[in-house]
Structure formats: structure tokens, C-alpha cells
Amino acid sequence: MSKNDRFVRFDNVDKSYDGKELVVKGLNLDIAEGEFVTMLGPSGSGKTTCLMMLAGFETPTNGQIYLDNNVISNIPPHKRGIGMVFQNYALFPHMTVYENLAFPLRVRKIPKDEADKKVDKALSMVSLQGFEARMPMQLSGGQQQRVAVARSLVFDPQLVLMDEPLGALDKNLRESMQYEIKHIHESIGVTVVYVTHDQTEALTMSNRIAVFNDGKVQQLSSPDELYERPVNSFVAEFIGENNTFGGEIIDVSGQKCKVKLNSGAEIFANPIVAKSKGEKTTVSLRPERAIIDPQTSMDNNHKGKIEEVIYHGDHTRLRVDLLGNKEFILKIPNSSSGMGVKEGKEINIGWNSTDCRALDPK
């Protein structure tokens, strides 16, 4: 059986709640079978709305959504056969864990012994065997979350939607649940559409990430691609840490361009969005790509003054005044030798023009 590359397909979907503003604008998105796709974006960017349209709780104002090549706009939610994990778990508080898991099987009139097996399998998947008789209130947040995940998978749906499922958990638990969900996805091969506003969560778990802003997908690509090669300033800003310089391109030659910054200094950058001479641009550089006192030669080399030293345990952050940007962040690993960094000290900072991307102006 060949995998369907367009298992879920948003075809030019618009959504408006009040008839005045579009929450989702002309969305096109294809999700392949078995893929783990995360919709990532700030709140109000339309990502949850997309999920709700897919689940059937909202109808698209315009455009079509296809599931396995079938239009699903007119199918009510209970007939779509899509599993869903909600932000606040949405476990039925008056039912035991077993009854919660058996609910989707019971409404499908699956015989009891078969249902028991499925419930058992789903619970073992989230390592919660023996919790069948508990009420949801008697479980911790993490356990409730696992029950919710198990419930969304117990009836073997082809597609599972997760709406910020880990938002209510503390940091450690959230991390271990991320791995757990990822492993479950890998072992059963279900298609997952995951919504979050937490970028590390998205980077850890997904095959591909769709970055939402302003009702549109800004970039849809794999986590490393997204981090290393953001296509615009919003993505660069939103994913990971980012140093920016505003300026204007004064010269382009192949894969290199010269940017005259607002402070007057000139740097070399990689023309991505802004490609021609005279264009305004925002140059983006990841903090870990800038190096203090580089040993190898780098095509950008400038002096900066340390404004602030912030100790972070495994690494130290320096806030540097560099080329008119007082918010320039540098990361240095916490090695035993120490770098002798001090506030007010002048340092040499170097980076390669390929890591320094000239994007659209902010």
C-alpha cells in the first residue's frame, strides 16, 4: 500500500468568525500519511482554528478540506473518525479510565471482549496498566494526559489531532511526554497534527513544522531546515534566538551581498529574500554562529563591547553592543578554562556570511 502524500489537504481555506476579519487566509497545506506535522505559531495566528476545522467543530468559510481524497466539510465530527487530544485533556470526569477509553469503542458497537483488548493495548502504550478503575480526578496531570492520548488512539483512527496537549504540564513532565508521544507516533505510524505555541516542543517532535502567523503558513519544513534556513524574518524571530540588523543591500555578488547597516557599518550576508541592490533588509544571525576571537578566517569580523554577562549553567550569554545593536546575544560554552569575559570588555566577534541571512525588512 503506497502512502498518500496528500492524506490531509487544505485547499485554499479561509475562515472568518465575524465576517469582518479573516482568521485563516487562503491556507494551502498538504500532510502526508504517517507524518507528524506541527502547527506552530503565536496565539491568534489561526493554528487552532485550522485544527478545529479539520476536526469538524468549525466550518471553513471558503475552500475545502480533504481527508484521504474525500471532501470532509459536510461530514459531522462524529463520523470523521479523527482522534483528538484536547488542551485540558477533556476526560469525562464521571467515568473511570476504563470507561473513558471504552467510550469510542462502545459507540462503535465493538464487542466487549474485543474492546477490553483494545483498551488494554492502549493503556499499555502509555504505560498506565492497572489504572482502569481510577477516576480522572485521582490521576496526576501527566497521567490524565496519557489517558487522553490513549483515548484518542484506542479506536485506531488514521489521524490524531492534538491541541496544545502538554500546555498544562510542568517543564520536566512536558519533556518526557514529548518523547513519549513521539515514540507512540513512530511505533504505530498514525498521522498526527499537533498544535503548539512552544517552539522547542515543535522542534523535538515533528517531521515537519508549519509556522503560522497572521492566518497564513509562513514556512512549512523540517525542524532543522526551519531553524537553519528560515525564509523570512518572522520565522527567524519566532524559532530560536536570533540577532538582527536592519540595513540596505548595497552590493550583490553571487551567494554574497554587502549590507550597509543603519549604524553605517558594512557586513557580508547571504541574500535570501532581499536579493537586489538598494533593497531594505533585516539580517538575521543565530547567536551560536557568532564566535569570539575566531581562529579560522571569517568574512565578517567586528569589534563589540560586552554590556552584560548572564550565567545560564551550561553556557553563558553575553549581551554585546555590536555595530549599533545593543541587544546582540552571544553564547559561549561553560568550559573550565573560562573566557575571561567581563562587562565593558572589548572583544572580536566573527561569523560567516552564509549563516547571516538577509531577509525581508521588519
Binding site: 465530527p77 462524529h78 477533556a90 469525562f92 467510550f103 469510542p104 459507540v107 479506536f155
Partner: protein, 415 residues
Amino acid sequence: MSKEQILSSDGIPLEQSLKKAERKNKLKAVLLVAPLFLFILIIYVFPIGDMLFRSVDDRMITKMLPKTFIAIENWDGQDLPDEPVYKGLYEDLKFLKENKTYGKIIARLNYEKSGFSSLIKKTVRKISKFDEGNYKEQFIEVHKRWGQSEYLIALKNAAPNWSYAKYLKGVDMKFDQDRNIVLVEEDRRIYKILWMRTLNVAFWVTIFCFILAYPISHLLATLPMKYSNLLMICVLLPFWTSLLVRTSSWMVLLQQQGPINDLIVWLGLAADDSRPELMYNVIGTFVAMTQILLPFMVLPLYSVMKTISPSLMRAGKSLGGTPLVSFLKIYFPLTIPGIGAGCLLVFILAIGYYITPALVGGASGSLISNTIAYHMKSSLDWAFASALGTMLLVGVLAIYWVYNKLVGIDNIKLG
């Protein structure tokens, strides 16, 4: 292992020093609660105790005829009693006549057995002319009923200080002259009808309130704030209006020449000369009470529904439950605490409702509370009114108990 006593840092046992530290707070708490406690005691507990007491208190007649009752105690109730009983009766009645307070015992004894009224009145009139000694003959001479043992048995039956005769009366029963509990004559059995009507009205008003309130509460709980506030005001507005005003406006609406009847005639459902009676019967009671008690159902339901996350219904649907199944298996069970609270509240209020049935109920729509009021204000049979009140109270407590057994009182939610 011996348990070592834990000491706080200054050497005092920990338990003791904790108590000392908490004492001030405890005192403050008690002082804060004290006014309410006293208020409840004076306004609530004491009157209820008094009501319970009055309903069984039958000491009045014992106090008024003390000598008679002492003498009659030894009588076996077979043949006519001996002289001491009549002597006691003579002395008691004479005393009562001198103080002009014999009126009360006439009513009380006549309740025990009809015929006592004329008997006592006639006897009292002539009692000052009695000679000393041989009272038995003189009594029988004044009225031959003094020679009939049934009257004297009735008198003996009135002797105990405490009596539950009023409770028997409340369920259409009485003592016959041999102290057996029997039903009253068929044409005098009115209380059973009254109780059944009261329960019936309370039950159906609860059901109607529930049917009307459930969708409204759901709407209130799910609408956006802007609209739900307005709707809430619509629900509460009648609540803030005087009960009397609301009931009177129902009288305006429901009367035979009123707008509702006009509408019925206009729609051709009834001829103009045979307009249906919507008031002064059970219909009026149903309609007005349902409307008046509706907020008591809406508010608990609303507050419970407000706490049910909309994502639960969504979860139900996404898991494959049709909207109906999701509602029945998920939403409805979660609203049961609110349903319980609302139904209990409305039922208990309805069962003792007074003003509305009094104004729009007429004779066939009046309830037990109207009868209690009648006995408080008109017949002045406070003991009977108290007995009916106590029965109502016990009935409500019984319902509460049944509810607790079925649903559990911890499951109740008022907000």
C-alpha cells in the same frame, strides 16, 4: 517503641503550644459566628421547637379540670363512675364558672365528642344551685348525658397531657371511643385529598420547571457573555419583582376576560360564551407557581452547566458519539448535581407554597399551606396547624433523606 513527646523550642509540648497559638483565632471565629448562631436559634430553632410542642400539647384541659381527671383515673370505664368523679367535676366547673373561663373546654370537649357543648353549657348554668353531696344524682338530673358512660369515657380520653390526635386528624383518622384509631366518616376525609393535591402540584411544578429550565440554563451557560447577561437578567427580573405583584399579574392574565382567554377565543379554540377557567383552580396554581419557581431551577442548573467544559462534548463527538449519545452519556450525567439541587429546591418550596395558591388557586387549587393558614388565622386551632406544619416538615425531611440515598447530598451543587 515509646512515643516521645515533641516539644517546641521553648520546652512546652508542641500540641499545647499549637493550641495556645490558635486560641485567639478560634475565639475570633466563634465571635464572628455567634450573631448568626443566636439569630438562627431565636428565629428558627425555637419556633420550630414550639411548633412541635404545640402540636402534641393537650394540657389545657387537664389544667382546667384537675380534680375531675385525678378522680377519673381510677375509673375502669365500664359502669358509671362513682361519686368522687362527679364531685371533682362539680368543683372544677364551679371554679371555672366563677372565673368565667369555661368557654375553652367546651370547644375541646366537643371535638372529643359532639354533644358536649350543650351539656357543659347547661350544667354550668345550673351549677350554682347544686347542693352539697350526692353530686352524681344532681348531675344526671341536670342533663341525662351525665348518666351515659360514653360521655364520661370521652372525658376520660381527654385526660392525657400529650396527644397525637391532631396528627391523626391530619390524615383523616381519629380515635373512636374505645381509643382505637379509625378513619373518619367518608364525607369528612378532606386531608388526604389535600395532601395528594399538594404533592401532585409540587411534583408537576418541579417537572415543568425542569423541562423549561434545562434548555434555558444550557443556553445561558454557552452563549457569549454579551447575550447571556441579558438572558440572565430576563430570568432574574421576575425574581426581583415582588411575589405578590407577579401573582397578581397572573390573575390579570388568566382571568376569564383576560388576554390569554381572549387569545384562545380569537384562535377559535373556545367559544366566547364558554371561556375556559384558567384561574381559581389547579391550572392557575400550576401556571403561576411554575413561573415563580423557575429561577430556583435555572440558577443551580446554570451554575453546574457553567463548570462543564465545552471540550467534553467535543471530545464525545470526536470519539464517535452522535450529538444525542454525547449528550446522554456525557453532558446529562454531569448536570445531575444541578438537576438534583434544582428539583429538591423547587419541590420543597412548592410543597409549602402559600401566597400563589391562595390567590389563584381557588378552592380546588388550594394546598396544605393554605389549610395551615386557615387554622392559624380563622379556626384558631393552633395545635392542628402545628401538627400539619410538623407533618410537612417531616415530609420534606423524608424527601431529603430519600434524595440523599438516591443521589447523595454531596452531589448537590448550588453554585
